[in-house]
Subunit: 153 residues, 4 copies
């Protein structure tokens, strides 16, 4: 599906919003790609993000999945609106181990009120190979009349 961004500065709006978000800083997440209807978020491995087996915590996986889907939706939102997560569901398919995670969020149905996104989270190994470790389906709400740049979540 090819999407038309709602504003010419859609990527800049997302970078600006991301830079102000403190939770992304806390866990060390980074923007890996921004395209109309698509955003990827990378999360390098850090001890602080693990559970006792050395894998990424499910909460860290869910956090970047939510952010990737939220910003993918936001690429299609007009100026003067913000984005809120209404709900998401996430399935954990394999242990989230590796040098970094990559959450790829894609809009599958844009809408004026609700936008639905599909998100895959891959775990990248030292050899550059990747393995699908989580899959999420998410509903984002477009909030009208709030002019500041919104942060998903």
């Amino acid at each position: 599906m090819a999407f038309t961004p709602a504003t010419p500065d859609y990527a800049e709006r997302i970078r600006e919003s991301f830079a102000r978000g403190k939770m992304m800083d806390l866990i060390g997440a980074e923007i890996a790609a921004i395209e109309p209807g698509y955003v990827a978020i990378a999360l390098p491995h850090a001890d602080a993000l693990t559970q006792q087996h050395g894998f990424f915590h499910a909460g860290a996986v869910a956090t970047i999945a939510d952010t990737a889907g939220g910003y993918a939706a936001y690429t299609l939102f007009p100026a003067g609106t913000s984005v809120l997560t209404a709900e998401f569901k996430i399935n954990f398919l394999a242990p989230a181990r590796g040098v970094r995670l990559l959450a790829r969020g894609r809009v599958i149905k844009p809408g004026r009120t609700l936008t639905t996104c599909d998100i895959e989270v891959a775990a990248l190994g030292e050899d550059g190979g990747e393995k699908l470790c989580a899959k999420s389906l998410q509903t984002m709400a477009q909030v009208q009349g709030r002019d500041d740049i919104a942060r998903p979540g």
Copy 2:
């Protein structure tokens, strides 16, 4: 529903597991209650957990919801098993603002393979009042033959 814990030291197992978990430290989460089939996790407000409007990030909300449900399930798991999140779904009902969040995880269906939990996340205000801000439904898997104490996620 009244549950019988599978081991007499169920609360100690959870405190020990929790203490080793690094993601809980990173966000500053604390155990608020442990009973058979029920665990509550508290998360005090911190700037590092916010998005740009000053509310808790959806990822932080989902992380403590997942942990509360996972440990609620784990209270009923026998020795020599560990707990893994198979999947969860979470609905965000109101902005997560306040002095702290409290995620209350309850087992609604225990099982040898799969355990289903219902989780509510409340936001507590300065006046002690609380508001329901998220609701989650979660499936936990019991992993056999791994003797170490497991961390949900």
Copy 3:
């Protein structure tokens, strides 16, 4: 939670909508209760609704869960609006066997755009005992400016 219905004829609106719905007739579902923010749908056992072990098909369970939650939301919607299912998630907790199913849908968060419902489906045995067999979490959308009576789904 106590709710105020948006219209005095909320129960009548639902009975009228239900009577026009053909899928409810097909499976033999009936309204068992209507209160502000709460609707129960009953489904008597019929061979046509079973899978090969004689249990109710998951699709039949999901259908009445969706309808119960949808109409629970609709009790709170003003005149001139209709109700649409945005999404739901359902966990199957036990085999759906018995003389009838009862889906109880409750609004947990009303809203002008989105309403969130929690639904439990119980299986009723010949002895009148009941067993929780499914649990669902659902998001309903309120559609403006459509004056006819809407059917969830």
Copy 4:
């Protein structure tokens, strides 16, 4: 992803199971395709499946989505096992209107205990065009030691 079916007669097992299922007969659903890790279920339009606007009822959409994913998983299950839906989530993306629906279920993560499936439901118009109307993410459980052919749900 390319999958190897667990038994040479995987397609026959599914056709046999489907033929015994009464709920599929009730709604008029048909098998449209069976491949390792993939099953498609078609549902021709019928008045009995509609809600008051003439669209397919959400319950009918969810029922074929569940069946498509369940049988997709079952293509990979060994002899002597059956398949049960543990849970699913479904998002409704557009009104389900058209001459028939087609639910395409794909395994995204096979497993000995749990298998995760991704399902898309398309609405086919009179002109042969199709439109994505629902998306589902589903967890199927493999039940050991039950030798009869199982029906998802």
